[in-house]
């Protein structure tokens, strides 16, 4: 018999229902990743006992680790399932939804809190308009290197899943949103909102809630220097604190 791959998948039928584990076996095929195996389950939705079950629900889109959609916890580690090659995973391969977000169904979770955080830190350039105003300011290649790295964040959730401070019961902004605040604070025109952003970061749920565990930077699939971003914002915030104190 050809080789079979074993999966243990933590499933949950709805937001309120209790989770349960279900085992699946999938025929081994070369060059498989976790997603191609989930697709095999879709095309033949039987569990390991041979019972017909509903196919596993998960989110995915680009399948090349640039959209952030397919994040889940695989063998205890948070990562994108598209770039999780089964040849490199121990069996049984355990798939779980991220724990820091409400489960929608099976491996799909609701990450809207991360997008709301981007609103709070006003992660945008306040452009005058979308008509022809010529090019932006000149920017050195050194500045671009730093900005580009920060801008690669795909709001996937790995950093906050790994963070001991981020929980369903608090309103911590998390590393991803703070990193965006740093990105726009260093932009030639984005920095006009710097003070507003820092004011938000100095409130509850902001920088002071970071416990400096440094898990975020380890978990980031794009190797974004998240702890550096938080430290940098910390410095900006203390300056602002003293400025606020003396100008009030």
């Amino acid at each position: 018999m050809s080789r079979m791959l074993k999966f243990k998948i933590k499933r949950q039928d709805s937001k309120e229902s209790s989770p349960y584990w279900e085992d699946f076996t999938v025929p081994y095929k070369a060059n498989s990743n976790v997603i191609s195996c989930l697709m095999d389950i879709q095309a033949n939705p039987l569990n390991s006992k041979g019972e017909k079950v509903s196919p596993v629900v998960w989110d995915c889109s680009c399948l090349e680790e640039v959209c952030g959609s397919c994040t889940m916890v695989i063998n205890g580690e948070v990562r994108q399932s598209c770039s999780a090659l089964v040849d490199k995973l121990e069996e049984p391969i355990r798939l779980e939804p991220m724990s820091k977000f409400p489960v929608i169904r099976d491996l799909a979770v609701d990450r809207s809190r991360m997008f709301e955080a981007l609103k709070k830190v006003q992660a945008w350039v306040p452009a005058d308009g979308y008509h022809d105003l010529g090019p932006g300011e000149r920017i050195s290649p050194e500045h671009q290197h730093v900005a580009y790295k920060l801008s690669e964040c795909m709001t996937c959730g790995c950093c906050v899943e790994a963070c001991p401070q981020y929980s369903k019961n608090n309103d911590f902004l998390g590393a991803a949103a703070m990193n965006q605040a740093r990105l726009f604070n260093m932009h030639p025109t984005g920095k006009s909102l710097r003070k507003d952003r820092l004011d938000v970061l100095m409130q509850a749920g902001g920088i002071s809630d970071c416990g400096n565990a440094q898990n975020c930077v380890e978990a980031c699939p794009k190797s974004i220097p998240l702890t550096e971003s938080i430290a940098d914002l910390g410095k900006q915030a203390s300056k602002q604190f003293w400025n606020n104190l003396f100008s009030s």
């Binding site: 990743n33 997603i35 509903s54 629900v57 889109s61 105003l133 090019p135």
Partner: protein
Amino acid sequence: MADQRVIIIGGGLAGLAATMKIAELGTKVLLVSFQPVKRSHSVCAQGGINGAVNIKGEGDSPEIHFYDTVKGGDFLANQPLCKDMCYHAPFVIYLLDRLGVPFNRTPEGNLDFRRFGGTLHHRTAFAGATTGQQLLYALDEQVRRFETRGLVEKMEWHEYLGAVLDSEGRCVGATINNLRTGEIRSERGDAVILATGGPGLVYGRSTNSMVCTGTATTSAYLQGAKYGNPEFIQIHPSAIPGRDKLRLMSESARGEGGRVWVPRKGGDERKPKDIPEAERLYFLEEKYPRFGNLVPRDVGAREIYDICINEKLGVHGEMKVYLDLTHKSREFLDDRLGGILEIYEKFTGVDPREEPMEIFPAVHYSMGGIWTDFESTDDGFINHQSPQNQMTSIQGLYAAGEADYQYHGANRLGANSLLSCIYTGLMMGPGVVNYLKNLPQAASEMPSSMFDGDEKRWKDRFSEISQMSGSENPYALHNELAEAMISNVLIVRENEKLGATLKVIEDIESRWKNIECVDTQDWTNPVPSFVNQLWNMIQLSKIITMGALQRDEFRGSHYKPDFDLNQPDDFDPADYLEFEDQKFNGGVHKDQFASSHLDYMERFEKNNENWLKSSIATYNNGKPTIDYEQVDTSLIAPRPRKYD
């Protein structure tokens, strides 16, 4: 007039650009997306965005960009639109720069530009090798800004099912499926824009994201909208094979000096680095000394097919060639191509900075799409105030981005898609707002009976799908459709196989009725939605295949060897202009041209009379028909393409 709003379907570059422009003009937008807009397929675009800024002092200009685009598309694109797009391209890049896109820079701090396919100029602005992602993020941020001001309302995790049409056939809203609750509702909108991208999933595995089913545009076609040039599907020369998808390896790898080669001797199993230079065949450089590795994609994909299938020189005897960057420094590569090289390394385990990559051609982009209109000015540009711009053949229903058909002709140039998406989204804004101003009644004031019918129709449809209890698994059936399309409607097309494929598709269509809806839950059940999408993919695959079958010629990405005009190797396209000129002025001086050239030019001219036309598919009484429509070639005279 009472409150009006525009419904925009799709949050990729075209949808977001339209959203921010229309919101800027003060009109409310309801933005509907299958997933959070920040995850849209535009993030997969890698290499860059074209605009003739002439930063390198090469004498580049929008007019040359326009010419390259039209020639790249084998003259099948409507020219005033291409012209207007290319002339606005530098502005689009400057705007993105102002919005914070971290474009790569020159030492002086200017925007840097690199080479891309189908041009001899450095015309492509880029942010590493994740330009699409960076552009999408900049627009996403602007739209989020309007969201906080209440001008934009987002409905993410919702799917467009169809347009709501009034008694005169005008679009007054859209029926939307909530992918979480399964609730189906018709939303009122004074205009609806489909910015829903391409249909790569018709081919199963492609470079497209999993959401790219083409289902929204197909739904418009099934409701009576014209669909243009369905058979023109771009095959990208360089992708990485994968079980779940074919990951793109950007053309920018060649733009930055990557070289494509195969061992000169078939079956040479030495490691690529052990094969000496003299025993490597750089087949693109040899055959196309001027454009080399940067020939347009249709040419590149065909040459790879030829070298692997006809010459049997593919790497490991497979449909694969080497793409080699190992002669470049790590630092250079990480700065300019980091994103894609990391992807290659992650998915194959091989470091492309040390070993040549193994790549092969994959379905990438649809030049065709929903037919859309435009209004040109006397000097060959577009009147940006016209409500006709980007309007489909259904009044009030618009399309933009990859969803429409008219910017790239028979073959798109690399880095023109990010441009066409953002350009159309911005360009169409004022016209759509003008359309709203001229409406006799706001959708919000219309009786609810106008919307109830469609809502019920779609509810019934989904309830029927949910109860399907046949024996076909919808995902397995999709794999079969994809297999038929990949095998027969790809780089090389033959009428016999195309005819047989239509029969296979019809068989799959009848088996669709015997599907089992394999998930019966009410909450967050993706299966009914997929079953509906599969129906639409079947309908779309029919017109892709029919279009290919009917078009008996070779143009751009549509290659039929039986109808190749066989351009003589030593032919100069300028001769054709001279030939046409002489013809216009009374008669051809036949002694001036080699007789083989003369024959070729006669064949070329005759072929254009027959086929320099857009294919227009329409759906009537459950059946597709394909007719043909003139292309606006008023600005650049069609001529044979040549890249060597």
